[in-house]
């Protein structure tokens, strides 16, 4: 076995970033082959070829490592999706489209979604791009009178709670075709949209699957999905 290097003595930030990336990707590889709950710090040490103290210094625990990985993945994915999303002026349709897109990703990229579900929620961390974006949409909907007059966090929690629960359902077993429409419809009703409008929007909104980012951690993790090519994903 190669000598395990204690990387904490190296001051170079770029080098530390590389170590960080390597550990995160190594953790992704481990999660492909084992359940995340069964992974021990020794497994990460061996896979990433870094010392135990480096992992401890950067992430404290294995659970902390997977939380960080999840945050990186969701932020990269969210940035990519939002960048590729066309402008949708109607706030209810926008919320429906984004929600449906997330459910589509859970269906098409189960491994990435399994990792993303480890993201810390609820969280006071302002770096969570998705949470910020959802809350912004809710505030706009309330201001325009499209959603009930409620504290925006209540609406945001309805969306995030529903999405997380739906992710788990989709990852556990294949859901019927109308499942994502039903999830989106109930979310809109919860936000105060009339039943008729909610059903109509949830059935008609059909987001296009965004092209996957060519670089970054998402790209590497998707390569572990078992898709023969990335085109398998974009073909839907």
């Amino acid at each position: 076995m190669e000598k395990i290097v204690h990387h904490l003595f190296k001051e170079d930030q770029k080098h530390l970033d590389q170590i960080n990336e390597s550990i995160l990707f190594g953790a992704s590889e481990l999660a492909r082959d084992h359940s995340i709950e069964s992974i021990q710090i020794e497994d990460v040490v061996i896979r990433s070829q870094v010392s135990r103290s480096t992992i401890h210094k950067l992430f404290i625990t294995v659970d902390g490592l997977y939380k960080r990985l999840a945050q990186r993945l969701t932020n990269e994915m969210a940035e990519n999706c939002l960048h590729n999303l066309p402008e949708i002026p109607d706030i209810a349709i926008r919320v429906a489209t984004k929600t449906k897109m997330a459910l589509l990703i859970a269906d098409k990229l189960p491994f990435l979604s399994r990792l993303a579900l480890k993201e810390e929620w609820p969280s006071a961390n302002p770096d969570h791009l998705i949470y910020r974006d959802i809350e912004k949409d809710i505030e706009e909907g309330i201001k325009l009178g499209c959603f009930s007059n409620m504290p925006s966090s209540i609406g945001a929690n309805i969306i995030i709670g529903s999405l997380r629960g739906a992710f788990e359902e989709i990852l556990q077993k294949k859901q019927p075709k109308e499942y994502s429409n039903q999830v989106v419809c109930q979310i809109l009703i919860s936000l105060g949209v009339s039943q008729e409008t909610a059903c109509q929007i949830s059935e008609t909104s059909a987001p296009a699957i965004p092209p996957l980012p060519a670089e970054g951690l998402v790209s590497k993790v998707v390569s572990l999905e078992g898709l023969e090519t990335k085109a398998d994903f974009t073909r839907g």
Binding site: P122, P151, N157, S162, R164, Q182, Q186, I189
Partner: protein, 236 residues
């Protein structure tokens, strides 16, 4: 006779130590994220040896799994006394949501823990969440809620509770925030706006304090002696 006594005392001591470790895990989770807690922290907090810890739990994950399961069971028992099963389904669900949030916010040690556990999870058979899911299922069967997959309704309700408690602990919202959460959940389940408003403002019974046994009993005992366990007053 003598042997029976010794066996009984040994079993009591074992149960006592088991609870002691669970409560240590709970108190630690109220001051830092669970993914930053290590076995050493629990050992130090509980003032036990590493060997003693492993006599009771195979890992930290096992301790937190057991803590979540047991706490959900005890909270379910407390809520059931206050929101009896013979009452109207919609009223019971609304009362459960409001009472639970009040309880978790009044005792931040409990609230903080509930917002830090991983939800959802595969095979997460927590009694309290199962009871909420049962009520939603019953409400659908009775035609009081929209006909939808039960899990969609359950995700709206449970997500709103977890997220709502987090928001309340973080931002110290005034009394009545939990009523707004229940109101929005009921609307999401298909209850009319007017009825949802009425259900979420019904008079609730007063909570008379923790029982003498279990984790809650241990906390009640600690609260009399330690400053670290304290509920905050509602904002007036």
């Amino acid at each position: 006779m003598h042997l029976n006594h010794r066996t009984r005392v040994a079993a009591q001591r074992r149960e006592e130590m088991h609870l002691h470790l669970l409560v240590s895990g709970l108190l630690l989770a109220s001051i830092k994220p669970i993914h930053e807690i290590e076995i050493e922290d629990v050992i130090k907090h509980a003032q036990v040896s590493r060997g003693s810890f492993y006599n009771y739990f195979q890992s930290l994950q096992a301790l937190y799994d057991e803590l979540a399961r047991k706490l959900m069971q005890e909270l379910f028992s407390e809520i059931e006394i206050l929101a009896p099963r013979h009452s109207d389904t919609v009223e019971r669900l609304a009362s459960t949501i409001r009472l639970l949030i009040r309880l978790l916010v009044k005792y931040p040690v409990l609230g903080s823990f509930i917002t830090k556990i991983q939800w959802p999870q595969k095979n997460q058979n927590w009694e309290l969440f199962q009871a909420i899911t049962r009520d939603i299922s019953l409400g659908i069967d009775e035609g009081k809620f929209t006909n939808m997959p039960v899990s969609i309704g359950a995700n709206i309700a449970i997500g709103s509770i977890i997220g709502g408690v987090h928001t309340m602990l973080l931002e110290r919202f005034a009394e009545g925030f939990e009523d707004k959460i229940a109101n929005q959940v009921l609307i999401g389940l298909g209850v009319t706006t007017q009825a949802a408003c009425a259900y979420s403002q019904l008079q609730l019974p007063e909570y008379n304090g923790f029982p003498d046994t279990g984790i809650l009993g241990k906390l009640a005992d600690k609260s009399a002696h330690e400053a670290e366990f304290g509920g905050f007053q509602w904002k007036k």
